[in-house]
Each structure stands twice: as C-alpha cells, then as structure tokens.
Symmetry: C2
C-alpha cells in the first residue's frame, strides 16, 4: 500500500469500521472529508458526539429516545392495546413507513441465538411481560426477522405470552409483492404455499 | 418519514452528504454509531478533525502532506527526472499500487472543463512549469482521467510543455486486462485499435 499521510490513514481505518464500507469506499470518503470545509467536518464530528451524548433508550419499549420515553410511547393517539415486538430499534422504520400500524413497539435488543450463545435472558423480555401485566395489551404482533434466530424468538415469546390471555400473531412470510416466482427461494416459496389465503 | 430522535436525524443527514451514501446506507451507518461505544465514536470524531487540522498540501506537487513536502517529494530515491501529472491527490493510489512508477507526481487539483467554467488558470500549472524550469525533468507522463476534461487538459499541457524540450507522454487507453471485447464500449474499442502495438 502506498503511504497515506498519517491522519488520513487513520481516518480511512475509522471509515472501514463502519458496516458495508470497504477499503475503496473508505478511501473515497476520507478524501471527501479532506476536500470538505473545516466547518462542515466540525459539524459532522459534533453530530457524532451529540448522538452518543443526547440519546438513550426509552424506559418502556427500549426504542431510541431523547428523554425517558420515545415518541411512540409518549403519543396518546397510538393504540395502547397492540404491541409490535421487534429485534432492533431500526426495525421500526420499515413498519412505520407502511403507515398502517398505529400501536406501540417493544424492542428486544436482539434475538435468541444458541449458536452465538444468546439466550432469552439476554433479551429485554422482562419489561415486555410487565407491560402485558398492566392489562391494556390485547395483541402482540411478533415482527422479529424471518430467519432462524427470529423464528426461535417468536416461538419462545408466543409460548410465554399466550398463557397470559394475550393474542399473539406473527408477520406473514411469502413472495415479496412485485417480485416473480422465478426468483423465490424454496423456503420462501413453501412458506408462501403454506400460508395461502382463500380468495 | 417516521420520527427519528433529533440528533439521530441530524447524523443521518451528515452521512447522506458523503459521496455514494443514500438514505438507507446513512440510516444503517447512523444506527451503527448509536450502537458503538462512546470511546469509539470519540476517536472517529477526533480523527475527522485531525485530518482537517494536521493535513495540508505539498508545496512542490500539491499532494496531501503533513509537513511542507509530501512523502514522494521528500524521498531521495524517487526518480527526479519523471513527473506524473494527475488531476487529484487520490489518483496517486492506483499508480503506486502498480509498483512500477518511481518518479514524482504533480497534482493539478482538477481538469479543464469549459462546461463547468474551469479554465487552465484554475489548475496548479504554474508550479509545474517552475519545476520543469528547474531543469531536472526529462519526461512528463500525463495521467489525467480518460474523459473529455482529462483529454482537454492533456492536450493543453502537452502544447505548453513540449516547446520547453521535455518529452510528454499520455497513459494508454484500451481494453482493460482480463476483460472481454464483448463488453468494450465503442470509444474504448476504437482507442484500442488506434493504439495497437506491433508484436
């Protein structure tokens, strides 16, 4: 590798730590910073620290939050009787963009993964049970990821919560809308057949 | 769009300013920062500022430099009689990785572009002429980009420098090694034919 000036080499390393950024992208980003004004870079650096200094976790649902409660938990117009359970806070985004879900969320901060040594005790399940014990919750929509870990988590939660008299549902898996059967993998295709609906 | 907490929304905006980073990537990067330790993020922010505070431009060749001269201009083992002319400092990288060029560089900080109103007076050509006037330079390899602006710059420089008794050459354009004729565009293909070499 050619010699980069030392601070530039360090910045390339820092960019490479970010997900999805390889050597070439990291170089392009670092050179972009080099060409940017000191003011722009200062604002970028400050914003990075603001995120670390001013954001915490909602004490109800574990979503990202500026104060004690996140915007969804604070909003009296959201339906308090439905909780959508997700693995990570960023999973809220694709659900909110549908504009069809008006309930609350619960972030587990992970999924059960025996392979990686993550058992249910590592997830934020205790708080969820407390919310259900409050009595207002009628339905739990489990929107963990459609993979082995997400499925294991869904089955575990379902067994735990159903005896409490709460309806438990799982998001549908099947062929994506606008896609083509030709491109469907066999697991998705068989899920799609299994979950067929009468017309 | 769903409500992101305010500092997070700002960080997503900052990541979106970077080249090649769209909304989805910016979100993924911002959530990564959220999950990182405060220490890691602090080091990232500090490195951004170090690049702005400790890096300048080499007073000989305009390459990025920590001191007055860049590593290439400081290195007595580099061939002082050949200068490779490039548009931007990051163009040094692909040339150095070949390990076949041992001369010096000159960064023009751009290319002639009448469409964008960039004339030769905006480029770092004056310093190049001074270096040539020093008398040690025998050859100028023009490695500006193989597009309209890079070609215009190459032709301009060639006309300017040849009368000074310096050999001027241009990097070869043709079919990339390991590629297939099928994928060559017509301009590259015709360049490749035009620049054919006897075997």
């Amino acid at each position: 590798m050619p010699d980069f000036a030392e601070p530039l080499a360090r910045l390339i390393q820092e960019f490479k730590r970010l997900p999805g950024i390889g050597q070439k992208s990291a170089q392009r980003l670092a050179f972009h910073v080099l060409r940017s004004s000191r003011e722009d870079t200062g604002r970028f650096a400050q914003t990075l620290m603001d995120v670390k200094d001013h954001l915490g976790v909602c004490s109800l649902c574990n979503n990202i939050s500026e104060g004690e409660f996140c915007p969804y938990c604070k909003d009296p117009n959201r339906d308090q009787s439905v909780i959508c359970v997700i693995e990570e806070a960023h999973n809220i985004l694709p659900i909110e963009t549908t504009r069809t879900f008006e309930g609350l969320y619960h972030v587990l901060q992970g999924a059960i993964s025996p392979l990686r040594g993550i058992g249910p005790e590592r997830l934020k399940i205790h708080g969820l049970l407390e919310r259900i014990a409050g009595g207002a919750v009628r339905e739990l929509i489990i929107a963990t990821n459609p993979n082995v870990e997400g499925e294991a988590t869904a089955v575990y939660l379902s067994r735990l919560v159903k005896p409490l008299g709460v309806k438990v549902s799982r998001i549908a898996m099947g062929i994506p809308v606008g896609s083509d059967l030709e491109y469907a993998d066999e697991v998705t295709m068989s899920k799609s057949l299994e979950n067929r609906r009468e017309m």
